[in-house]
């Protein structure tokens, strides 16, 4: 007989629900609070959540009348994690065009394409990711070439923005996504050199309207010029998806020349350019698991990429490479593996919290824990970077998130069936 027990396991944290719970007030007792700020790690600390905010951090805090009290037994509390760059809310199921909205294939360069207009806060994936401790993420478009003679995208994939995992898009967090490198050559007439030629032309259409080409030779629409103008004035990050060291150097030069707020995404060979990236204050959003030359742009792939970039003073954040959003909860594992390969543990947690919050302009809301800030918190069953750890409780803006998803509903339904069978 297999060990099929009859109770859901509560994994240690036992919540006491008072009879008349005051909406919103929660006291987490005796947690190890990783603030991911200069305040460091606060041992044996109570966290009081009230009115959506972290009302108090301290010892022996009193629970307000009606507050839910959670005994943490010293377990870690961290800021909610960053889910990386993905098609969250714009790709419900892979390879199904009716629920995939991440790619514009009009054959023309349209930086004004803003994928957040398609964002579906009801996506089942949000609930799955929340249960993995993810509370904020960057929604990003992807440029794809056209199939067999039909138009495709261009190297400017369009814009995305940060969303909170309760489904609220974060205001003023738009970013522009640009593809560079060998895998983007199909979007730029067959050569990566043309990627920089096309970017130069688009920039000059914005910067030098008088020298502009006739209409039929322009890359951008008036709306596109307006959009690009904003990024050229540094209002938001321009995320370059690029891996090869020489291409990263080109991006660094472009960013310097045009005063772009550049971010490197991918960055498989970024470690080889680490001092230049650090000097240019260009952060890198990487998947630290890349250790194989999946393309010739990544022949320098190494599991020490994150550790080397961090050591050189480059700000790093983690994201899966594959923009499919279903398993973005795995980003936590990538941080643990980076730590196993030389990254300090604290830097691993920062790459999931404060660093991405700073890179994408939501540091006042996300990524660290301090009194008075919105309460986006996760209580973990153990080391948050460990694969055997699960999120026990998740709070977004002080709201306790249901630890339920379509997946848990499926699991519960079929566990019943399995138990009935085993009992036969």
């Amino acid at each position: 007989m297999k060990p099929i027990t009859t109770l859901l396991c509560v994994l240690g944290a036992i919540a006491t629900l008072p009879a008349a719970a005051a909406p919103g007030a929660v006291l987490i007792r005796n947690a190890t609070v990783h603030t991911v700020s200069t305040a460091g790690v606060l041992e044996h600390t109570d966290v009081l959540i009230s009115d959506g905010k972290i009302a108090e951090l301290g010892h022996d805090l009193n629970a307000p009348a009606g507050a839910e009290v959670i005994e943490a037994y010293g377990k870690p509390v961290t800021p909610g994690l960053f889910g990386g760059l993905s098609h969250l809310g714009i790709e419900e199921i892979g390879i199904e065009p009716t629920v995939d909205d991440y790619s514009l294939k009009l054959g023309s360069m349209r930086p004004e394409f803003d994928v957040t207009a398609a964002f579906n806060p009801e996506s089942m994936i949000l609930g799955v990711a929340r249960m993995g401790g993810i509370t904020f993420a960057m929604i990003s478009p992807t440029a794809e070439p056209g199939a067999k003679g039909s138009p495709g995208g261009t190297i400017i994939a369009g814009q995305g923005s940060v969303t909170q995992l309760d489904g609220a898009l974060a205001p003023k967090t738009h970013a522009l996504f640009v593809d560079v490198g060998g895998d983007a050559s199909a979007l730029s007439g067959g050569s990566r050199a043309a990627q920089f030629m096309l970017l130069d032309q688009a920039i000059s259409e914005v910067r030098s309207p008088k020298a502009m080409l006739p209409n039929d030779q322009r890359l951008l629409t008036p709306a596109g010029r307006q959009t690009l103008q904003e990024y050229l004035s540094g209002t938001g990050p321009v995320v370059f998806d690029v891996d090869r060291a020489s291409d990263i150097r080109q991006v660094i030069a472009l960013a310097k020349r045009e005063k772009l707020h550049a971010v490197i995404k991918g960055g498989t060979e970024a470690w080889r350019v680490a001092p230049e990236l650090a000097a240019a204050h260009i952060p890198v959003v990487l998947n630290p698991l890349n250790d194989l030359p999946s393309t010739f742009d990544g022949v320098g792939a190494t599991l020490e990429n994150a550790a080397k970039l961090n050591r050189a003073g480059v700000k790093i954040a983690f994201s899966l490479d594959d923009p499919q959003p279903h398993n973005i909860r795995k980003v936590r594992q990538t941080a643990g593996i980076a730590v196993a390969h030389g990254l300090p543990w604290e830097a691993g947690l920062a790459a999931l919290t404060s660093n991405p919050a700073e890179i994408f302009g939501v540091a006042s809301r996300n990524g660290s824990i301090a009194r008075g800030r919105p309460a986006d918190l996760v209580l973990w069953s153990g080391d948050p970077l460990e694969v055997s750890t699960l999120a026990q409780r998740v709070f977004i803006e002080g709201q306790s998130q249901p630890m339920q998803s379509r997946q848990t509903l499926l699991g519960d339904r079929y566990l019943e069936k399995l138990r009935a069978h085993a009992a036969r």
């Binding site: 297999k2 060990p3 390879i95 250790d291 020490e304 730590v339 694969v387 055997s388």
Partner: protein
């Protein structure tokens, strides 16, 4: 009682084992013939040469190197049989596990490994890999995993696509992988024969080929075949078309086999006019499945499709060793267990296509919990194969969440003995029982952790990976001179 074991081609074992023992003892004898007798000068292909066991063709040239005995002392040992031994020793002699226990004596000139604080497991086995057939770098020129030009290609053999210089073999070794099944892709209903490789460096795939391992047959359900061919407006474009496609093939195979058997009967009776059926290398493969010589591994996501496939296997009288991917295995865990079918699964992949929409992270734990269930953790990924132990760790945690408590000594079976069983190799590897291949991993800690790293990997008793000395393992030719050789850094 498990049919996956009972249906193994039992007759071949003594011969295969004999070949291996011979190879181990007489390592210089590179030309040890695997075929029983070549003394007769028959040139004309007979039915019996047509049916030469797959392992005898394109034979393995892998030989176990001479190696000093190894004694690993005072480690936490997960044997792969469901047992955990604390503070235990593992002794490997002549490439084989000699014993596991306490206070073992080291033979003269043994290599001694201090296992204190370390965990020892059987070498990990991945039943679903495309290393070598979809190698790194992923260039079109080396994309050799899917013969997607016809929905039924039982004539192709994955081994003929394997590029041994794929740097992914080496990174998998660092993750403790000692054996793996390389499969064709899933574009076709019947994708072709698989090959089991030992994870040793070699210029040729024959130098990696697991001696005497049965071949597998890759088949695929669902979306992939119907999408690949449906988009071309050719057959099949529906799931019912998929099933009709398999059945047409099995009917042909049955006829082919019957013709062969009739010929053999006549030939044996001295009928000189008897002619063997025209040789067909597609039907050779399928007939070998019907005879139990080739093991079926089937890509299948949905529960209802798995049930259909099982009915089809009854219709034609063969056994499905394992459903691969099987994201809905948890819905039919009882059915799979009853029929002795393993499910090879990911820990947490889901949603990347419609047939993966119902994936849940408790899948592995549920399959494991069914009485006589056979859960396997597989990768189908050059990244995932590097850390099957961590995938298993996730499955343990998700099982725990719903009250299924799975100790490490049980979970290790998902990546060792259960895959070995599905490959027909459990009598040779997959556990640390005496007499089995010396395929052993020494971990720096409990392997079910994100921080776990393999310190040493032994294959047939030979040290193949030493974390403290990465240069000990040769680089693939491809990575030589490249900016960062896979896994080794300036």
């Amino acid at each position: 009682m498990n049919r996956a074991v009972s249906l193994m081609p039992g007759k071949r074992w003594p011969q295969a084992l004999g070949t291996l023992i011979l190879a181990a003892l007489v390592t210089a004898c590179a030309a040890t013939p695997a075929k029983p007798s070549k003394s007769d000068k028959t040139v004309e292909p007979t039915a019996s040469t047509q049916r030469a066991a797959p392992s005898e063709l394109y034979p393995s040239t892998y030989r176990v190197p001479q190696n000093a005995p190894t004694l690993i002392r005072n480690a936490t040992v997960l044997t792969g049989t469901g047992t955990r031994l604390d503070d235990a020793d593992v002794l490997i002699v002549d490439g084989k596990i000699q014993s596991v226990g306490s206070h073992l004596q080291a033979p003269p000139q043994s290599r001694i490994v201090d296992g204190k604080g370390h965990w020892v497991t059987p070498g990990l086995i991945d039943v679903h890999s495309h290393l070598g057939v979809y190698p790194s770098p992923g260039v079109e020129a080396n994309s050799d995993g899917n013969e997607a030009t016809s929905p039924a290609t039982p004539n192709v053999w994955a081994e003929h696509s394997v590029w041994p210089e794929d740097p992914g073999f080496r990174t998998a070794l660092a993750g403790g992988i000692t054996s793996m099944q390389i499969l064709p892709g899933s574009a076709n209903l019947i994708g072709g024969r698989s090959v089991v490789l030992k994870n040793v460096p070699s210029v040729t795939y024959q130098g990696m080929k697991f001696p005497g391992a049965p071949q597998g047959l890759k088949m695929a359900c669902g979306e992939n075949p119907k999408r690949v061919y449906g988009e071309r407006n050719t057959f099949p474009s529906t799931r019912m078309g998929n099933v009709a496609g398999y059945r047409e093939q099995w009917v042909q195979a049955q006829e082919y086999l019957r013709d062969q058997q009739e010929y053999e009967k006549k030939h044996a009776a001295g009928d000189k006019d008897a002619k063997p059926p025209k040789r067909d290398i597609k039907l050779d493969t399928l007939a070998a499945v019907l005879k139990g010589d080739i093991i079926v591994h089937m890509h299948c996501y949905r529960a209802d499709e798995m049930a259909t496939i099982l009915d089809m296997s009854h219709e034609f009288g063969y056994h499905v060793a394992a459903f691969h991917h099987a994201v809905e295995a948890y819905k039919v865990a009882d059915l799979l267990a009853e029929q002795g079918v393993c499910a090879a699964m990911w820990a947490d992949w889901w949603g990347f296509k419609m047939e993966a929409y119902d994936g849940i992270p408790e899948n592995i734990a549920f399959v494991d919990a069914a009485p006589n269930g056979c859960a396997i953790v597989h990768s189908d990924s050059d990244e995932g194969i590097q850390r099957l132990n961590q995938e298993a760790a996730k499955a343990i945690a998700y099982g725990q969440r719903v009250g299924l408590t799975i100790p490490p000594e049980r979970a290790i079976k998902w990546v060792t003995s259960n895959p070995a069983k599905s490959l027909g190799l459990l009598e040779r590897t997959g556990t640390l029982e005496a007499g089995k291949m010396g395929d052993v991993v020494v971990w720096n800690r409990n392997p079910f952790s994100v921080y776990a790293l393999a310190d040493f990997v032994f294959i047939d008793g030979a040290l193949r990976y030493d974390r403290a000395n990465p240069a000990f393992t040769p680089q693939s030719d491809f990575t030589l001179g490249q900016p960062a050789a896979a896994g080794v850094y300036p």
